[in-house]
C-alpha cells in the first residue's frame, strides 16, 4: 500500500469527477492545499460543490477554480475577498450555502466521526435555522445540523510521512484536520515528506488512517493581510 505520490496531478489521478463534493482545508490563504487546487483547475472538472471556510482570492487559492466556472456551489462562512466570486454569485452562476464557521467545522468533524446530526445553539432565531429542526434541551432551543462528508478532501500539512501521518504548523492547521476526516478519499500535500518515525508521535494531528495519498509540494504561502508593527 503505497500512499506516496510524486505530485498533485498523479495524486489526484482517478479521483475527480464532474458534480463531486470536495472539502478543502485552509483559512483565507493560510494552510490551503495550493498544489491540489492548481491541479484540480488544470483537470477541468466541473460542477463542483466545495466545502471550504473561504473561497480564496482572485487568481489564487480556490479563486483559481472560478476562472473556468468549475464551481457550482460553495459551503462557506465568509467569502468576501474575491471579485470573480462575487460576479458569478450575483449572476446566479454560483450558489452559496453560508454556514457559521463553527458549525461548518463541526459538520465536517461530525461527518468524519460517523455522527449524522448534532444540535447547536449557533444560529437559532436566525436565517440559518430556517427550515431546520429545532429541539429544546434543558429549556434552551437548539438547531439540528447535519454531518458533512465529501467525495474528496484536499488538505495541506507542514510535515507528513509515508504512512500519511500529518503534523500542521501554527494557524495553518485550521480546517485541515476536520477536512481530512470528512473525505471518502483524502489527499494531503506537505511541505516536507519525512521518513516514518521522524514525526513527534504526540504531535501527529492527523493520523495516517485518514490520508490515502500524500505528496511533497512547493508552497507560495501568500499572505492576505500583511500587518506589521515597527521593529
Amino acid at each position: 500500500m503505497k500512499k506516496v505520490y510524486s505530485a498533485a496531478k498523479s495524486a489526484l489521478d482517478g479521483l475527480l469527477f464532474d458534480g463531486m463534493t470536495i472539502a478543502a482545508g485552509g483559512f483565507g490563504l493560510c494552510g490551503i492545499p495550493e498544489n491540489l487546487i492548481q491541479s484540480i483547475k488544470e483537470s477541468g472538472v466541473k460542477n463542483l460543490t466545495i466545502a471550504s471556510n473561504n473561497a480564496g482570492v482572485d487568481g489564487f487559492g480556490l479563486g483559481l477554480l472560478l476562472q473556468d466556472m468549475q464551481v457550482k456551489k460553495m459551503i462557506s462562512s465568509y467569502v468576501g475577498e474575491n471579485d470573480l466570486f462575487m460576479q458569478q454569485y450575483l449572476a446566479g452562476d454560483l450558489e452559496i450555502e453560508f454556514n457559521p464557521q463553527g458549525t461548518l467545522a463541526e459538520r465536517l468533524r461530525a461527518g468524519g466521526a460517523g455522527i449524522p446530526g448534532f444540535y447547536t445553539a449557533t444560529g437559532v432565531g436566525t436565517k440559518i435555522a430556517e427550515g431546520k429542526e429545532l429541539k429544546e434541551f434543558d429549556g434552551k432551543t437548539y438547531v439540528l445540523e447535519r454531518g458533512l462528508k465529501a467525495d474528496l478532501a484536499i488538505v495541506k500539512a507542514w510535515k507528513g510521512d509515508e504512512q500519511g501521518n500529518l503534523t500542521y504548523r501554527k494557524t495553518a492547521m485550521n480546517f485541515n484536520p476536520e477536512c481530512a476526516t470528512a473525505g471518502t478519499v483524502t489527499v494531503a500535500e506537505v511541505e516536507e515528506l519525512v521518513p516514518v518515525g521522524a514525526l513527534d508521535k504526540m504531535s501527529i494531528h492527523t493520523p495516517g488512517v485518514y490520508v490515502q495519498r500524500i505528496f511533497e509540494g512547493k508552497h507560495e504561502k501568500r499572505i492576505e493581510q500583511r500587518t506589521t508593527r515597527a521593529a
Binding site: 483559512f27 483565507g28 490563504l29 493560510c30 494552510g31 471556510n53 462557506s76 462562512s77 465568509y78 467569502v79 468576501g80 475577498e81 462575487m86 450575483l90 453560508f98 457559521p100 464557521q101 463553527g102 458549525t103 461548518l104 467545522a105 463541526e106 465536517l108 468533524r109 447547536t120 445553539a121 449557533t122 444560529g123 437559532v124 432565531g125 436566525t126 436565517k127 440559518i128 507542514w158 500542521y168 504548523r169 501554527k170 494557524t171 495553518a172 492547521m173 485550521n174 480546517f175 485541515n176 484536520p177 476536520e178 494531528h205 504561502k221 501568500r222 499572505i223 492576505e224 493581510q225 500583511r226 500587518t227 506589521t228 508593527r229 515597527a230 521593529a231
Partner: protein, 209 residues
C-alpha cells in the same frame, strides 16, 4: 462629549477581568487590547485556531502560517497554543471563553444582534460571529449609537437579519453604556457631557430605569 473610537475601546477594556479569555471582533474591538491593565493576565483567542495571540509582527517576524481571524499576520506568545477549527469552536460554543467584544449594525432591546447581512447588498457571510454570540459567556457590543443617517442602532426590533437572538449582555456606544435587561436597555453610564435627554432622543429601544 460623546466618546470617540479609542474612548469606546478604553471603556470596553473595563469589561475585562484578570484571567479572562477573550475574543475580540475586528474594527473598534481590536483597539481594546491597547487598554488592557498591565497587571491583568488576559489571553486573546483567535477563532481560526489560536489561544494567546500576540501583537502584529515586525517585518522580520512575519510568518504566513500565523494569522488571526481577520487574516492579519500576528505573533505568538510564550503561552500560545494552536488547535483545529472544530476544537476552536468547541471552546467557543462550550462557553469556555469569558468575553467577546464585537461590533454590530443593530442591537434590539431584547438583546438581538444584527451584524452580518444587509438585504439587497452583497452578503459576505457571518464567519464565526454566530458561534461567538451564541457560545461566549458574555457578549459586549461596541458600536455608534446612531447610523450615518442619524437613526438609532438600538432598536425595539432589529430590521436586519439576526446574527443571534437574545445574546447581547451590554452595549457600549459613543453616548454611553447600556445593559440589556428585562423590559429594555438599562443605562449604566453616560459619556461625558452626554445627557439623558440626548440618549432618549437618539434611542428607539425602550430604556428602563
Amino acid at each position: 462629549m460623546p466618546w470617540d473610537r479609542n474612548q469606546m475601546a478604553e471603556r470596553a477594556a473595563l469589561e475585562l477581568e484578570d484571567g479572562f479569555y477573550v475574543n475580540l471582533g475586528i474594527g473598534i474591538p481590536t483597539l481594546v487590547s491597547n487598554y488592557v491593565p498591565e497587571d491583568y493576565d488576559i489571553t486573546l483567542q483567535s477563532e481560526n485556531g489560536m489561544l494567546g495571540m500576540g501583537a502584529f509582527p515586525t517585518e522580520e517576524e512575519i510568518d504566513p502560517d500565523l494569522i488571526n481571524a481577520g487574516k492579519q499576520t500576528v505573533t505568538e506568545l510564550e503561552r500560545t497554543s494552536y488547535f483545529s477549527s472544530s476544537q476552536s469552536f468547541a471552546m467557543i460554543r462550550g462557553g469556555h471563553i469569558n468575553l467577546s467584544i464585537l461590533g454590530a449594525m443593530e442591537v434590539s432591546e431584547t438583546g438581538d444582534l444584527a451584524n452580518w447581512m444587509i438585504p439587497g447588498r452583497l452578503v459576505k457571510g457571518m464567519g464565526g460571529a454566530m458561534d461567538l454570540v451564541a457560545g461566549v459567556q458574555r457578549i459586549v457590543v461596541i458600536m455608534d449609537h446612531a447610523n450615518k443617517a442619524g437613526e438609532s442602532k438600538l432598536l425595539k426590533k432589529c430590521s436586519l437579519p439576526l446574527t443571534g437572538q437574545g445574546v447581547v449582555d451590554r452595549v457600549i456606544t459613543n453616548l454611553g453604556v447600556f445593559d440589556i435587561v428585562e423590559g429594555g436597555l438599562r443605562l449604566v453610564e453616560l459619556a461625558p457631557e452626554v445627557t439623558m435627554d440626548e440618549v432618549h432622543e437618539k434611542t428607539e429601544a425602550a430604556i428602563v430605569i
